[in-house]
Amino acid sequence: MRSSPIYDDVAPLARRARAVFFVVAGLFLILAFSYWKIQILDYGKFWAMSEANRTREIVLPAPRAALTDRSGQIILVNNIASFKASIIRENTRDFAASCARVGALLGLDPGVIEERVDKFRSEPLFKPIVVKDDLTLEEVARIEARKLDLPELVIETEPKRFYPYGTLGAHVLGYMQELTTDELRGAFKDRRLGDRIGRMGVENSLEKRIAGTDGKLVEIVDSLGRKRDELERVDPVQPPKVVLTLDYDLQAKADEFLAGREGAIVALDPKTGGILALASSPTYDPNKFVNRFTPEEWTTLAENPDNPMLNRAIQGLYSPGSMFKLVMAAAGLDTGTIVPQTTAYCPGSIMIYGRQFRCWFEAGHGTVNLYEAIRQSCNVYFYSLGRRMNIDTIARYATELGLGRKTGIDIPGEREGLVPDTEWKKRVMKEDWYPGETISVAIGQGALQVTPVQVAEMTATIANRGTRVRPHLVLDDETQAGIVRVPSAVLNEIIEGMWRSANEGGTGAAARVDGFDVCSKTGTVQTIGRETAERLGIKPKTHSWFTGFAPRNDPRIVVTVLVEFGGSGGATSAPVAGELFKIYKAKAAGS
């Protein structure tokens, strides 16, 4: 090493070092201010971001209320636990590869998974999208075992709606279906992807009452989304069970009778309006909606020409046929056009306005009074009554007895039906009413359209001697009763005719039950005109109607039956009603 010279001016070096040090000091000052800005001024923002990072809120779906029959003992709808597998897109690295792996694990076609996830692509990335419901325990175990390899796949547990009796009362109970993205954006903003709501029946109309209050779970998660701790837990609340007015035995029997046919049965308690049974056929299994449909299954159901989803009891529109003779009788008696003893001669047909109107009994009923005309359902008697009456008067009595307007039953989708009058004809057809049309209406043909539940309600009003009730399905429903402007004296005369129909060998004889005083009216509705049928050389197909109540003096049950293309009312529907009356009587005696 060489020694330093005696004089070596190192002052410039020291000065330069000092300058750099001042720059460094300045940079430290800037640094301190930067940290001040982030940590003190922007503290709130970053605090919120760190909280959002570390916590995850999970909704704990509330089980819906159970629904029971009127005894409160037989559970018609309940919940069972179900596991579902969902994909969280946020956690995927390669989406297609994820789908392939998840597909292999769950035995699904990756294409189907992608399609399903794609349907909800507008949802935020962190939202789980259900790819398979109703996992078996074995599938759950398989997913759990691969949890670390597949952070995008999560298992969620939720209560699942379960209908233990399958198709029983399906149209009354309704079904559950997932909300669509449109609904989630619209009326159901507060609901989550994959949430279901009731789509029909009581599931729909009682949605608010039976939906329950969801709970929540706030978890602490790490950067991989793994749960580390629990911060807060609010348990979901299941609302108390709702007791329906349905009688399990009657409902089961009604369903059984209709199996393989198309039609509807309504049985109700005339005192309260509580529906004892409401069946519509063909039907469907609401459990199928809970588990996701395959596309084929859905097509089969949706495109079934017999339309199983239609609740014929409240949505099916039919000509009332001879059911309407009850309205005619009430109108005729109340307006003083006839008295019960007023007779008509039935030779099998009658000429009115230059046209021949036939009775269903070609041999003719001979001379009949009102009671007999109801008992035998004589057309000629009511043709001649119709000739003496104004259509608007008839329409007023029909409306008063509940036709042509909704009964107000507490499930959605009810239709109004139609009671024609001159005003309607003018408005819709732009034509005047022809008197001949009144003759058709007099025996329940023409433009008249009714639903089975309307007929049941009308029957209850008659049975109650003028007190109207609102058909309903929830037992604690407060029924608004109303008085109909038809005097009970008039209705008593009609009831005499109905009693004879069932008990004196009338058209409703097959509904007769010993010691139960059934009062009834049958109907047989031509679906094509008799003339057309004869021209085509085919036997006319007819809808089969029955309505009635029992017992005569203390009415406790109304039964209305409609079987599409079921032949005559007396032959097909009346025996079914008779069976239901019998079951009711036996149960009432037993309890």
């Binding site: 330093s4 410039p12 503290y43 970053f46 760190s50």
Partner: protein, 363 residues
């Protein structure tokens, strides 16, 4: 080798600041890595002991002697770095790790000491008022050769941390305005070429991310974003030791190395950050103040280059974790986990102590 007079002249305050900052680092490493496998805390503690021993080895031999053998040290460093490139095993894509029987280490770290000594040797007899082309080329070569070898590993962060040595030497030697202009233009050219030719896509992405960290929160912006959340959510007093949610729940990447300062920010808040910045500033200030306390030019160069070498990563690291600088993978000396880095820092400080304690001795 070391007599009592010299022993008395050891700057114990500097050693105290050095150890204080190392212990802060140790505590943060504990918080950042206690839930992860790897025993980082114990390993860092062990390295701390080893580094202290080396610090005293470093200062007990006259720095003139170290400078004298620096060409050989440099030759060794170049040989090892070249060998690494050819035979090295990659750790996360970079061939920067040398694995010996028991300890693994990054030879590029202690290589800085060899470079620093060689540059000091080169400049020790330079007495002009401004730097000349030939000596600039000589010094530049001494720094750039190992630096390029490191950059080729590729470890851009460590390669960049060689630059302060050159910066220190040039500044101390003195530069005319023209030289500064030439260097700036040269740097610009190198930058353009580097951006288009040398930088890999992921490195470019990091620079772009700096401009808008929220653009791609799951991609390269993720690190900065999570780091800023960690620091910002610490507030004034922090969430408490071991209670940082960003750190403990692993939202923060590279918690025990590059982002250790974010752990500090989250768990000890602005007060903690301020305290460590101040204590670090005192430590660096003491290094800068040591520059004139040397018996010759070589000593001044050594002290100043060490000060620059240690200041640079502190500033870059603390700026990059709050998004003021691109993420370059430069750890913060003494605080970040890393044996080689710790050892190198101790060797460097040992050199300064070496120079200072011999300032009154005339050989």
């Amino acid at each position: 080798m070391i007599d009592r007079v010299q022993f008395r002249e050891i700057d114990w305050a500097l050693i105290a600041l050095l150890i204080l900052n190392s212990l802060i680092g140790l505590a943060l490493i504990y918080s950042a890595s206690r839930l992860a496998p790897g025993n980082f805390f114990l390993r860092q503690a062990l390295w701390l002991g080893i580094s202290l021993i080396f610090l005293f080895l470093m200062l007990s031999i006259d720095y003139k002697l170290w400078m004298g053998i620096s060409p050989y040290l440099m030759g060794l460093a170049l040989a090892v770095l070249t060998a690494l490139l050819v035979f090295g095993r990659g750790v996360s894509g970079a061939k920067s790790w040398l694995r010996l029987a028991f300890v693994g280490g990054q030879p590029s770290e202690p290589a800085k000491i060899a470079v620093l000594l060689l540059v000091a040797l080169i400049f020790s007899d330079f007495r002009r008022t401004t730097i000349t082309a030939d000596i600039a080329a000589l010094g530049g070569g001494a720094v750039l050769a190992p630096m390029l070898l490191v950059a080729a590993q590729p470890d851009l962060g460590t390669a960049m941390s060689f630059l302060p040595i050159l910066f220190g030497a040039f500044v101390l030697a003195g530069m005319s305005r023209r030289t500064v202009a030439v260097i700036l233009i040269g740097a610009l050219l190198v930058g353009l070429v580097g951006w288009n030719v040398i930088l890999k896509d992921y490195q470019k992405k990091r620079v772009l991310t700096l401009l808008n960290p929220n653009d791609d929160p799951r991609g390269s912006g993720y690190h900065v974003r999570q780091s800023r959340i960690a620091i910002g959510s610490g507030g004034l007093t922090g969430k408490g030791f071991l209670k940082g949610t960003q750190s403990q729940l692993r939202f923060l990447p590279a918690r025990h190395t590059d982002f250790i300062f974010s752990v500090l920010g989250e768990e000890f808040g602005f007060l903690g950050v301020f305290f460590v910045l101040v204590s670090y500033f005192f430590f660096l200030a003491r290094l800068f103040n040591s520059v004139p306390q040397s018996r010759d030019r070589a000593g001044m160069y050594i002290n100043f280059m060490v000060a620059c070498l240690l200041t640079f990563p502190v500033l870059v690291n603390t700026m990059m974790i709050i998004g003021l600088f691109p993420i370059t993978g430069i750890p913060i000396p003494l605080l970040s986990y890393g044996g080689s880095s710790l050892l190198t820092t101790y060797l460097a400080v040992g050199l300064v102590l070496n120079v200072k304690m011999r300032r009154f001795v005339n050989v």
